[in-house]
């Protein structure tokens, strides 16, 4: 199971038009100059999979995620995560699309393969494939050196959650 590609529309720096971000299995390196929009890919992933806080998305509130430039502003911020399912998800489909749309009023709409779901149901579904809010699989820029500073109790809670 892996992320085949991400589709964005109006999300952060990716402009108003629909844009495909190819990923695919194995080791994918994301490269480019400062300010290009590399870390915004990680934001798109955490946003759509419901594993984000506005703080680690570097947004004051959800509407800050909507693309804007020189006064023009997108209608919404929309992200699709296209997953290839090789059995991690207990469903028939080989292709699973998780999507999230945030409207200008800040409301979020989550969908699994086009069907509206509540955020907590999405989280339950993703947990089946071992995608958790704190699975320590998403490491945002500048945070790796803070991990060793965790308290002993915090460390034990991590192991408890994994067990």
């Amino acid at each position: 199971t892996y992320i085949e590609k991400i589709v964005v529309e109006g999300f952060k720096s990716y402009g108003k038009d629909r844009l495909e971000i190819p990923l695919g299995k194995g080791f994918v390196a994301v490269v480019g100059p400062n300010g290009a929009g590399k870390s915004n890919i990680g934001d798109a992933i955490s946003f759509a999979l419901g594993i984000a806080t506005t703080k680690n998305l570097r947004a004051k509130n959800l509407s800050y995620l909507i693309f804007s430039r020189n006064g023009e502003r997108a209608e919404h911020a929309y992200v699709e995560i296209h997953l290839k399912n090789d059995g991690s998800f207990p469903v028939e489909e080989e292709d699973i699309i998780i999507s999230r749309r945030v409207l200008r009023d800040g409301r979020s709409i989550f969908k699994i393969n086009g069907v509206n779901v509540r955020e907590k149901d999405l989280k339950k579904f993703l947990a089946k494939a071992h995608i958790y809010e704190d699975g320590y699989n998403v490491v945002m820029q500048g945070t790796i050196t803070q991990l060793t500073g965790m308290s002993p109790l915090g460390r034990r809670r991590i192991v408890e959650d994994i067990a």
């Binding site: 390196a29 490269v31 430039r69 820029q141 994994i162």
Partner: protein, 161 residues
């Protein structure tokens, strides 16, 4: 519940010892229960000893040493309970070239059955990847494309400078 915890603890610990020894040759790292008789009455300590150095105050470690320790822990957890994908954003910011290579090697070996999406500014790390995704900003809008070799993106970086 205690059994589930001890199973996770012992396995992750075993992984951590091996992975840290690979990333930091001659070094040792392991987890330790504060309260061996009642694990839930205490926390988990991390004892780290880079080659030739004392186990001491974790915060006195260097930026690179903290990064290597953190990655070893993440990989140790990954080997016990893998997620389908990992996203690492500039985890190599404080790594010297030798350590960046070790991390690249380790990610590559693990990427056979797990997806690793790694944002990096270091060519040495990107050189271990199966695939390169290039991102540039044109007039405030990000453009994303597949890169066939690193010289393409170096050209892009020079253009935007």
């Amino acid at each position: 519940k205690l059994n589930a915890f001890m199973d996770a603890f012992n396995n992750i610990n075993k992984n951590l010892k091996r992975i840290y020894a690979f990333l930091s040759p001659g070094g040792k790292a392991e987890m330790e229960l504060e309260n061996e008789h009642d694990p839930f009455a205490g926390g988990i300590n991390l004892r780290v000893k880079p080659r030739g150095k004392d186990v001491k105050y974790l915060e006195s470690m260097s930026g690179g040493e903290k990064t290597i320790t953190a990655l070893a822990l993440i990989f140790a957890i990954q080997e016990y309970k893998p997620s389908p994908f990992y996203y690492f954003d500039e985890v190599d910011a404080h790594l010297d070239e030798a350590n960046a290579r070790k991390v690249g090697e380790l990610i590559r070996s693990k990427s056979r059955d797990t997806q690793f999406i790694v944002v990096t500014l270091k060519e040495v790390l990107a050189s271990y990847a199966d695939k390169l995704i290039g991102v540039t900003a044109r007039g405030g809008v990000s453009k994303v494309f597949t890169v066939n070799n690193l010289s393409e993106i170096i050209l892009e970086e020079a253009k935007s400078a």
